[in-house]
């Protein structure tokens, strides 16, 4: 069957791209081949716009075992253990069917981890929605959280951390990024590289249906609602649990030489990637693929995104053993083809060849684009902010809404700051019995690694507003903040995974945001010595030409040499409270400006990476040494909100007895609610704080004694005097569905 003129546009290839395809293939493609190219050359699989930029990111360090390119990255955390992790987006499916979209997002990232031979031990997520006064956004939040919990809870993997942020730019295009962490021994790390011509290719797990046809292609165009209707994947976590256990059991033996999950672009992408990574060919017959529906064409089978499927490359002599293990887990394994030595991906349908393409054409010949970026004028204008037009807060301790105290209560109830309890309590975060620092207790999750005395910490962060105002600086902040959250629990940051959520890169303003953010991220990763080991790119996140705030989410993982030495938000009666880091707070891009004045404006706070590293190492060292057990990053809402969060978490007040360090412009609102990187509140007993301060002395790090924890009020004479219970009530009120 010949390809009709323009038919390539149905699989989202441009005219030029189609000409390139014909050129490299040396002939017109068959309809199936066209569909396969459409998927493999989509932004989602081919990284057309991001690949040239991503090469700037540092990916190596002595402790990196596996960088980008495999299903997930892996790092050495000591004692022969490898930690495998990755974050991935499921934005478009979640916009259309939030429960299943989020659930299958979790399912996909979990498969990426156990495909590497690692047992998944933790999930995190990064979410963005439009404001909750719109019922649709409340529905999306409720169902995304339900889907994440429904899948992860059933799998028995604790969801231990995450973040959520609300802004009108996410109306119609929520972001749902899921991160998974697994652990294994160095020697047991598995790669998805087919090898050994003659080895058999098996498909394990769910039967193939028509769900998710062309998901990869449509994740790469900008109207998710129209494009995704009717192709929603429905997840089955129960089946995935069986698949997980079966695969991990199989990987203990030598019969399986490669494993690749079926995600975006289904069988097409898994066969192509497995063959191309291994430098071999593959021949499969779609007639051998078990189906859930009748009358499916080869095209549908090759491009279906049915969930919970895994491709195995198996030594022929081990096929029977593989089958028996799989069947013991109530699943079945079908032999659908074999590895060949000619480098060609050949698809048959009942013995007839329906596609025959050298694997490299799908991967190496995928076009890449370097475009001209230009900042939108509107963004430049937003960055210039004249603070004199904004009235400062009156200096009055009354809990009047105009006072510092009133403003604090108002900010605590902001959906961007409020307690996340109504979300994380719907996630099982205690299963596996490794959770040392649970959600709401510390700045990052801490998990013990059994049998070692060590622990790992994980956090995921991004300030989308900073990135909208200055994508370079904003992405630097994302890396610094994720890393800072790790040091606040006592972990040494080792590496990150990223999920780059952006709008249309074909527009100069979109490309500007993407390219600037990647460059900023690269700079911060180098300065803070945290290489990128895995990641995912999600572009075309727009609704009616309005792009989402650029959101390069950063998932960071670190190690605690002795997991007993960790820190949380909780201080104790009589603890001395100290602010580490002397960066001047600024109102640019702050939650205060947004919440109080409805402004997304100003330049985000400057970030001195050298100073940031000093502050981070100082605090991390003190927690690691067992000197400090209470630490908290000053994030959204600045110093006042950070103090309030610690008071709420502890149920103990604090009395501030110095004048609070002023910002750049000597304003009250800036001093209390201005934001700045590299500021960490720590607390401890007098003698430990003495030791800590002595340690800090010679280190070019500022440490300021603020006051003493105790009593039931947050009190700063002349500024604030509020009951902790009142702060807690405001904090709880900010998100719907608080259960208790």
């Amino acid at each position: 069957m010949a390809i009709a003129p323009g038919q390539w546009r149905e699989v989202a290839l441009s005219d030029d791209e189609y000409r390139l395809l014909v050129d490299v293939l040396g002939r017109e493609p068959t309809p199936l081949e066209l569909g396969m190219f459409g998927a493999m050359w989509s932004e989602h699989c081919g990284y057309k716009h991001s690949r040239p930029l991503l090469s700037q990111l540092p990916t190596e360090a002595q402790w990196v075992l596996e960088g980008p390119g495999e299903n997930a990255g892996a790092i050495d955390v000591g004692d022969g253990l490898a930690v495998v992790f990755k974050v991935e987006s499921h934005n478009h499916p979640s916009a259309v069917e939030p429960y299943e979209g989020a659930a299958t997002g979790v399912g996909g990232i979990v498969r990426d981890i156990f495909t590497m031979g690692a047992r998944p031990i933790a999930l995190l997520n990064s979410l963005r929605f439009g404001p909750l006064d719109l019922p649709r956004n409340r529905y999306l939040l409720d169902n995304v959280v339900g889907g994440i919990g429904g899948y992860g809870n059933c799998l028995g993997i604790p969801t231990v951390g995450g973040e959520v942020f609300f802004d009108p730019s996410f109306n119609g295009n929520p972001l749902v990024n899921a991160m998974c962490i697994g652990v294994t021994e160095h020697g047991a790390l598995m790669r998805a590289r087919a090898s050994g011509p003659g080895n058999v290719i098996m498909l394990v797990g769910a039967d193939t249906g028509r769900d998710g046809l062309h998901g990869a292609t449509f994740a790469s165009v900008d109207d998710p609602t129209a494009s995704h209707r009717g192709v929603i994947q429905v997840g089955n976590p129960f089946l995935e649990k069986l698949l997980l256990e079966a695969c991990l059991e199989l990987l203990q033996g030598d019969d399986v030489v490669a494993m690749q999950d079926l995600g975006a672009a289904g069988l097409t992408s898994s066969v192509v990637e497995c063959a191309s990574r291994g430098g071999v060919g593959a021949e499969i017959d779609v007639a051998l693929v078990p189906r859930r529906e009748t009358g499916m064409s080869a095209y549908e089978v090759m491009l279906s995104e049915s969930q919970e499927r895994m491709l195995l490359v198996v030594r022929p002599e081990g096929a029977a053993r593989v089958r028996s293990v799989v069947e013991r887990w109530s699943l079945h394994a079908s032999q659908i083809g074999q590895v060949t030595d000619d480098g060609v991906v050949r698809v048959l349908d009942g013995g007839t060849i329906v596609a025959e393409v050298p694997a490299g054409l799908f991967t190496d010949c995928c076009p890449t684009y370097v475009r001209e970026g230009a900042e939108a004028l509107e963004a430049t204008a937003r960055r210039s902010l004249d603070l004199t037009t904004i009235p400062d807060l009156p200096g009055d301790a009354e809990a009047d809404s105009q006072s510092v105290a009133g403003c604090l209560l108002h900010l605590l109830a902001s959906p961007n700051i409020a307690s996340r309890r109504s979300i994380y309590e719907r996630y099982d975060h205690t299963i596996l019995a490794n959770t040392v620092v649970a959600p709401g207790v510390g700045d990052a999750a801490v998990l013990r690694l059994r049998g070692t005395g060590r622990g790992i910490a994980a956090a995921i962060d991004c300030n989308s507003r900073y990135c909208a105002l200055d994508p370079y600086l904003g992405a630097m902040h994302a890396v610094a903040e994720a890393s800072r959250n790790l040091v606040c629990v006592g972990a040494k940051p080792l590496a990150i995974t990223n999920c780059l959520n952006f709008g249309n890169p074909e527009r100069p303003s979109g490309y500007f945001q993407l390219s600037q953010a990647v460059a900023g991220m690269a700079a911060a990763c180098r300065a803070l010595d945290v290489p990128v080991v895995s990641g995912n790119v999600s572009l075309y996140n727009e609704t009616g030409e309005i792009p989402v705030m650029p959101t390069p989410a950063v998932g960071a993982v670190g190690v605690l040499e002795d997991v007993r030495n960790h820190a949380s938000l909780r201080w104790h009666d009589g603890d001395v409270v100290v602010l580490v880091g002397g960066a001047a707070p600024s109102l640019g891009g702050s939650e205060y400006l947004s919440r109080r004045h409805g402004l997304t404006a100003g330049s985000p706070p400057p970030l001195d990476l050298e100073q940031e590293l000093l502050v981070q190492r100082t605090v991390q060292g003190a927690v690691e040494a067992g000197l400090i057990r209470t630490a908290h990053d000053c994030g959204l809402g600045g110093l006042a909100v950070a103090l309030a969060e610690m008071a709420i978490a502890s149920g103990i007040g604090v009395s501030i007895d110095i004048d609070v360090p002023a910002g750049q412009s000597n304003r009250r609102d800036e001093a209390w609610f201005g934001e700045a990187p590299g500021r960490i509140l720590v607390a401890g007993a007098e003698k430990d704080i003495q030791t800590f301060l002595a340690l800090v002395e010679g280190k070019r790090v500022t440490a300021t004694r603020l006051g003493t924890a105790g009593g039931s009020r947050l009190a700063a004479p002349g500024w604030i005097d509020v009951e902790v219970a009142e702060l807690a009530a405001a904090h709880t009120s900010g998100l719907p569905g608080s259960t208790q």
Partner: protein, 234 residues
């Protein structure tokens, strides 16, 4: 000490490894996973049905697991007086199998809940409670979507009269209040026993509370009762 603890594993169980390691590593007794297709529990001194989503929790939680081959052996083990502990999904399976009365309904909020709770132990005349005194308050995590214990009034009265109500959700001081009942359980019941006191079902997870490092070790106290159990041949 002889005997071993059998931790059952159904398709979809996900608390089986936690229970196994709590008994092995934290209590320090021999424990083995027993597949749902096994039909014999020879030599086992205690049987644990762990938490999870057996068979995907389809139809009703525990409804399908009840018919797994191993359950016939569990029934005869229980009828011989052998100690059986059902945790969370295991509790649900035991009620579906009629080894315990009542049923577990959707949480009042219709949502899954995961948090630490306080439990006031009352009737402690049970093989699994040799280390717990009546009136004691323990702190254990819950993590379930279907944990609201239900039984008709007559059954509830009978359970109370027989001392089969083992634990109720309470506040930190052991008092019952509307906010201390996380899921809408009848009479705030979190754990019940059979009439003979050898079968215990509880919604919270003692196997996740085995060390102060992970939030508390009250669960370990409960699980340690198995040491007394292992001393007695079934």
């Amino acid at each position: 000490m002889s005997g071993w603890v059998a931790v059952l594993s159904f398709p979809g169980s996900n608390g089986d490894r936690d229970a196994l390691s709590a008994f092995r590593d934290d209590v320090g007794v021999e424990a083995r996973l027993v597949d749902h297709r096994e039909t014999a529990l020879e030599g086992a001194s205690a049987v644990v049905l762990p938490g999870g989503f057996s068979y995907g929790d389809h139809l009703r939680c525990g409804a399908i697991a009840r018919f797994a081959p191993v359950m016939a052996s569990v029934r005869s083990f229980a009828n011989r007086g052998g100690p059986v502990l059902g945790i969370c999904n295991g509790f649900q399976i035991l009620t579906e199998a009629h080894l315990l009365p009542g049923a577990l309904l959707r949480n009042r909020t219709l949502q899954f809940h995961c948090h630490w709770t306080h439990l006031r132990f009352e009737g402690c005349d049970n093989a699994w409670l040799s280390n717990i005194q009546p009136g004691e308050v323990l702190r254990l995590p819950v993590a379930h979507g279907d944990g609201a214990f239900f039984a008709d009034l007559e059954t509830l009265d009978r359970l109370e009269a027989n001392g089969q109500v083992i634990a109720r959700y309470c506040d930190v001081d052991g008092r019952l209040s509307p906010t201390s009942n996380p899921n809408g359980s009848s009479r705030a019941i979190a754990a019940i026993s059979n009439e003979d006191g050898n079968v215990l079902g509880l919604m919270p997870h003692p196997e996740r509370a085995t060390s102060p490092l992970i939030g508390g070790d009250d669960g370990l106290r409960l699980l340690r009762s198995v040491l007394d159990v292992l001393a007695v041949p079934v």
